[in-house]
């Protein structure tokens, strides 16, 4: 017999339409809970990491509220199938099922033709973590005081080049679920890694990452994440709104910490 740590997962999350957009095409999921109604205040949750936990953000796109349909289809399917998210191939299968579901819906409902969505997910398990993303919704990790983007933006090279030289966020995606020129099969980015006993991750849509640079987010997380996740989320949200809030804003802040040691059976 030996001992193993029991890990606790604390989460604070908020999803808001921002100042400019009339509707909210973003959607967040905290394990089995999928946001169904507009949120007015952030939510917080606490989990024991004795089973896999999934956190996800999707940023839908397409006019006439079609973006909402796409993000909802994607998130719901991924949440339903979350038990299968083990290893890169399984993740790719689930993501592609969501991709096909969106395409099928768009064919059946011509008003939603061309709708698409990004997705970024983080699954924590007692024995490790898996992350994945398609599109430009992001996953960051805070470690040793530095914030690092783990997800890989699906932005075409020419757009990245252009955006860098014009010092603006990229506007064109090279991959998303659904979309006007859908890929036959999506290759989500992702990795499976060891789970540290202490750690902090941020999932967000471009409504946050386009208006706040990494140093700003890093400074807020560094100062606030250890004691008050909720306040940290609100502060980030507030900064995004003060920067104009041009897009929907989704923030999911996840913190893992050690609760106690217990006997391994």
């Amino acid at each position: 017999m030996s001992f193993r740590p029991v890990l606790s997962v604390d989460v604070a999350a908020f999803c808001h339409q921002g100042r400019v957009r009339a509707n909210n095409e973003d959607l967040i999921a905290l394990d089995a809970w999928v946001q169904a109604e507009p949120m007015f205040v952030p939510v917080t949750a606490q989990f024991n990491l004795d089973r896999p936990l999934l956190f996800a953000v999707a940023d839908g796109m397409g006019g006439h509220e079609a973006g909402e349909v796409a993000s909802a289809l994607a998130i719901r399917l991924v949440v339903q199938q979350r038990a299968r998210l083990r290893g890169n191939d399984a993740v790719a299968d689930v993501i592609n099922e969501a991709h096909q579901a969106i395409l099928a819906h768009a064919t059946a409902e011509p008003s939603t033709a061309g709708m698409g969505t990004t997705i970024v997910g983080l699954q924590l398990r007692p024995d490790g973590l898996t992350w994945f993303n398609v599109g430009d919704s992001r996953l960051y990790r805070l470690r040793d005081g530095y914030l690092r983007q783990l997800s890989v933006d699906d932005v075409p090279a020419f757009e990245r080049e252009q955006a860098l030289s014009e010092n603006r966020p990229a506007r064109v995606l090279s991959a998303c679920l659904g979309g006007r020129q859908p890929a036959e099969r999506l290759q989500p980015h992702g990795a499976t890694e060891a789970l540290p006993e202490e750690g902090c991750w941020l999932l967000c849509s471009d409504g946050l990452s386009d208006v706040l640079d990494v140093e700003t987010i890093e400074a807020d997380l560094k100062s606030g994440v250890a004691d008050d996740l909720l306040r940290t989320v609100l502060r980030l949200f507030d900064k995004a709104m003060r920067s104009g809030g041009p897009d929907n804003i989704s923030i999911v802040l996840v913190r893992v910490s050690r609760l106690r040691m217990e006997k391994r059976s």
Binding site: V152, A194, V214, E218, R260, M261, K263
Partner: protein, 699 residues
């Protein structure tokens, strides 16, 4: 002419054959020394002795030996000289000097007819190397082309110190110092193949036709490598052929294409020589199709530049690495997937951010001298670092500055970086030094165990200093002499100490033991702590206090023991404080070492092996030993912890598939109060002995 260098510079094997040094040739690079020697027969040869750090492709060398070619300087033999352990070559002596001398004599701008002659010679030579021998020269430049005869012109290629054989590998990453002014732009990216030599030919042609090297600076020298790189990156390569006569322009443009795939090779050069005009691929933009890595106010284009800039700007480098800027640049701009994955592995493998930075720098550019916070940690660097740390004021006046030698040494010790470095770079010296360093520190702690509490605390404060002194002795043998002096200086105090103070006498005996056994490092570490102890021993009032404190401790222990017995009899699980004293025995067995031992007992927080070797953690009576094994060069098929004497119970550890070195956890079960000795066995071989003293302090 100056006096010839003494012959003892030649390896014995050559001296025996009667080789006598006539003179030293001007050093063509940093890799080797060249001597003109006379043989018994009267003939002349050139002997080339490589420096130890030179990187030699023995397969390619073997193909050059005894090759009688009109294009290649004759290499009569090459090999590793015994016992000097020096790689040597015996080469043809070419009297006519190098092409660089010829350019100096006839130039700087050469007649076009002359250039044409030179071109056909070099073209044939490069073609011969590539097609017949399948080697890339990698350092084609006027200094490395020798003139066998000047009328009619006959040129031979020389200096094969940097050649790379392409039979074994198509993608080469051997890092070799070479002349940046002639080397192809892909050199910095480590993707080097045949086209690299054609680029060098292009640079030489422009130099001879224009009378000036394209990268010449206004003072007649050459531009700095960084500036050369920036020019290539920024400007179209077409600018390199400015001033080249019209007839030659296409040839030079064809040879000076930034992308190896676009560059002309022997086919197009032959066609051009025959009067054809092969097509030149358009490359209107700067050479690099990627953005530079912006770092510390600089624009950096290749891995070597970044590695050096990281070393020089440690704090910014930690930030760039921590925020993932390096990894995303490698992935998105350099588009080097292999490097990206290796950086990812480093990121996952090391806990400490500075360890990650150290090994990321080594992934970027493996031949860079390893360094931490600006201090080199290669063999000589480590000796300097330890000596500097030992000279810094001993601990006690607050924490040392992060860049101080002692702080860096502490980081190296705590993170086990020497062993990590040894494993990462296959460098046994660092691993061996680390093992000896730790063994010496264990010996020091054992010595400290017998001291009274007050003295132990003072020693604890002194341990970093002792660690530095010990390491300095390990790395620099010349420290032994000063240690001996320090040892002898202790002698007068001895008689008094032996009479007055038991524990100081015991410490001095240990010092004697280390001295007698020739364990210089341990001696150094022990001597480093003595200045702290001597005043303590000399103060009678303090001695009395020490004695009282020891007496109190003994009483307290007895009371606690009685209480602990009661607790056991009542079969109540008490939280007890386990004091664990780890006695390190012979730690090394066929290369596998138990690096760390720690003990858990719920709800304990397992920690690293504490500096003073004493574990203290609350326990429910169940104790788990955690072991970390390093260098498991043997296949581990069992790891056990066996109690010595008493019940002789054995606890077997689970062997995880990955990582193979553990950590292993062995459940030792409930331990009654008292002393327990355990053996740690790897594959049934005892590698370490551990003593646990279970105390009775109630929480």
């Amino acid at each position: 002419m100056s006096r010839p260098p003494p012959d003892h510079r030649l390896p014995r094997v050559l001296r025996r054959r009667g080789f006598v040094i006539e003179r030293q040739l001007r050093d063509p690079g940093a890799q080797a020394d060249l001597y003109v020697v006379r043989m018994r027969s009267g003939g002349q040869r050139v002997v080339k002795l490589y420096r130890p750090e030179a990187n030699i492709d023995e397969g390619a060398q073997a193909r050059l030996v005894e090759l009688d070619s009109p294009y290649v300087v004759r290499l009569f033999e090459s090999g590793l000289a015994d016992p000097e352990n020096v790689w040597f070559e015996v080469l043809e002596y070419v009297e006519g000097g190098s092409l660089a001398d010829l350019i100096r004599r006839e130039g700087p701008r050469l007649q076009e007819e002359r250039v044409q002659e030179i071109l056909s010679q070099i073209q044939a030579a490069i073609t011969f190397l590539h097609t017949r021998l399948q080697i890339v020269h990698r350092d084609v430049k006027p200094q490395n082309i020798l003139v066998r005869s000047s009328e009619p012109l006959s040129l031979v290629m020389a200096d094969f110190g940097t050649v790379s054989s392409l039979r074994e590998r198509s993608d080469l990453s051997r890092q070799i110092p070479r002349s940046v002014a002639y080397s192809a732009p892909e050199e910095g990216r480590s993707l080097v193949s045949y086209p690299a030599d054609w680029w060098s030919l292009g640079m030489m042609l422009v130099e001879m036709l224009v009378g000036r090297h394209p990268f010449a600076d206004p003072n007649g020298g050459l531009l700095e490598p960084l500036e050369i790189m920036n020019r290539l990156a920024r400007d179209s390569v077409d600018g390199l052929v400015d001033g080249v006569p019209e007839r030659w322009r296409n040839l030079c443009r064809g040879l000076l294409r930034g992308r190896p795939d676009n560059r002309w090779n022997q086919q197009q050069v032959t066609d051009w020589l025959l009067g054809d005009s092969p097509e030149v691929e358009d490359e209107p933009r700067g050479l690099f199709d990627y953005r530079p890595f912006a770092f510390a106010g600089q624009e950096l284009w290749d891995r070597r530049q970044i590695a050096h800039a990281f070393k020089a700007n440690w704090a910014e480098a930690l930030e760039a690495l921590g925020r993932g800027r390096l990894a995303s640049w490698v992935r998105d701009e350099l588009q080097d997937q292999g490097l990206f994955e290796r950086l990812g592995r480093v990121d996952a493998a090391y806990q400490h951010p500075e360890a990650r930075l150290l090994f990321s720098i080594l992934e970027l550019y493996p031949s860079v001298t390893p360094a931490l916070r600006g201090h080199d940690i290669d063999e000589p660097g480590l000796a300097r670092l330890a000596t500097a740390a030992a000279a810094e004021s001993p601990a006690g006046e607050g924490p040392a500055a992060p860049s101080s030698a002692s702080a860096v040494l502490e980081l190296i010790y705590d993170q086990g970086l020497l062993t990590s470095y040894a494993d990462h770079m296959f460098n046994p010296w660092h691993g061996d030094t680390d093992r000896r360093w730790r063994a010496q520190m264990r010996e020091l702690r054992q010595a400290a165990d017998i001291l009274p509490a007050g003295a132990r605390e003072m020693i604890a404060a002194r341990i970093p200093f002792a660690a530095a002194t010990g390491l300095a002795v390990l790395c620099g043998p010349n420290r032994e002499a000063s240690l001996q002096a320090a040892y002898e200086a202790l002698l007068p105090a001895r008689a008094r100490a032996l009479a007055e103070c038991d524990w100081l006498a015991t410490t001095l005996h240990r010092i004697d033991g280390a001295y007698a056994a020739g364990r210089g490092a341990t001696l150094g570490a022990l001597i480093a702590v003595v200045p702290t102890l001597a005043p303590l021993a000399a103060d009678p009032a303090r001695r009395t206090r020490e004695r009282q404190r020891q007496e109190q401790q003994r009483l307290g222990l007895r009371r606690a023991q009685q209480f602990g017995l009661l607790a056991l009899v009542g079969a109540v699980v008490w939280l007890t404080m386990v004091q664990v004293r780890v006695v390190m025995a012979e730690a090394q067995r066929r290369g596998a070492v138990v690096q760390a031992v720690s003990f858990d007992s719920a709800p304990a927080i397992p920690g690293p092996e504490p500096d003073n070797g004493v574990f203290a953690l609350p326990a429910t009576g169940k104790v788990v030993a955690n072991l970390k094994v390093v260098n498991p060069r043997i296949e581990l098929d069992n790891v056990k912890v066996v109690q010595v004497g008493g019940a002789a119970k054995a606890a077997r550890c689970e062997i995880p598939l990955y990582p193979p070195e553990g950590p292993f956890s062995c459940d030792l079960g409930a331990l009654p109060k008292g002393r327990h000795r355990f053996k740690v066995l790897l594959n049934d071989q005892k590698v370490r002995e551990v003593t646990l003293v279970v105390g009775g302090r109630k929480q």
